[in-house]
């Protein structure tokens, strides 16, 4: 459906961090477990460690306390300490999908005041709309509406 191929503006968030660029990059990637909002994970068990393998083709995944692993995406560029891109393959049903692709790019730029500007862009969001078949599946599955409503509920709570 052509109307589904409309581009959705990327989500862009930037922050200034009181760390030098190298350290900032390291903390963001190596210590993601420490700062990632703990309530946001897709596995059954709590997060043990979030891992971004530091090379192109590496995995971005979470190891849970029960030993299970959940994938988030793959590393598509890795250029420390300047930037990296990873895929975010979490669909509208809040599950990982091999063939569902959105992209997250994170840039680290040293600023004159000795701080670092961190810019995050989450793009390719039209995949959520493109993937009408997947959404249809989502809607038809046994937990279909549960999943979708949970998503909307999250939206609601975030908005509230």
């Amino acid at each position: 459906m052509t109307q589904q191929q409309q581009t959705i503006n990327p989500v862009r968030v930037s922050v200034s961090v009181g760390l030098d660029q190298k350290r900032c990059f390291e903390v963001f990637t190596d210590e993601m477990t420490s700062w990632w909002p703990a309530s946001h994970h897709i596995g059954e068990a709590p997060i043990d460690k979030i891992i971004i393998e530091p090379f192109v083709g590496g995995r971005w995944y979470t190891r849970h306390t029960d030993g299970s692993e959940t994938s988030t995406g793959a590393v598509t560029s890795y250029d420390a300490p300047d930037h990296f891109t990873v895929t975010w393959q979490i669909g509208a049903d809040w599950e990982f999908h091999e063939d569902f692709l959105t992209t997250i790019e994170v840039r680290f730029t040293a600023t004159d005041d000795g701080r670092t500007l961190v810019e995050l862009e989450h793009r390719g969001l039209e995949a959520y709309g493109d993937d009408a078949a997947r959404m249809k599946e989502t809607f038809e599955g046994p937990d279909a509406w549960g999943g979708m409503l949970t998503l909307y509920k999250n939206v609601a709570e975030a908005a509230g």
Binding site: Q3, H122, K136
Partner: protein
């Protein structure tokens, strides 16, 4: 702008879920939708009106018939959700990163302070 609670409420109805489901296959006029559902055509129109009001469905006149389709802008709440999610994540990152950094700095400051204290005595 539609708030997420309104969308939730609109989607709480099984007939409206079924209509959305059918529309995800492609745009359709009321008559075709009604033919596939166990409810009357006026009832389908009524449900479409609700879906339109919350911004999930849009319609367009095509010759003699009015065709309904899913509106990709209905995904706006999802974008909003992701935006809030990343904002929260980035704030958490800054807090963690700067706390770590601040601890280092205080450690240095304390180390410098210590000799001064000794001097004062």
């Amino acid at each position: 702008m539609t708030n997420a609670h309104t969308i939730l409420t609109a989607l709480g109805d099984p007939t409206r879920q079924a209509i959305l489901d059918l529309l995800l296959d492609g745009p359709q006029p009321v008559g075709e939708l009604a033919a596939q559902l166990p409810v009357s055509r006026p009832a389908v129109s009524q449900h479409l009106k609700v879906l339109k009001e919350v911004g999930i469905v849009v319609d367009r006149q095509e010759g003699t018939r009015r065709v309904y389709r899913v509106d990709p802008d209905g995904l706006v709440p999802l974008r909003t959700y992701l935006e809030k999610f990343w904002q929260r994540a980035m704030v958490a990152f800054v807090q963690y990163a700067e706390n770590q950094y601040a601890e280092d700095k205080y450690a240095d400051a304390d180390a410098e302070k210590q000799p001064h204290k000794e001097d004062d005595r």
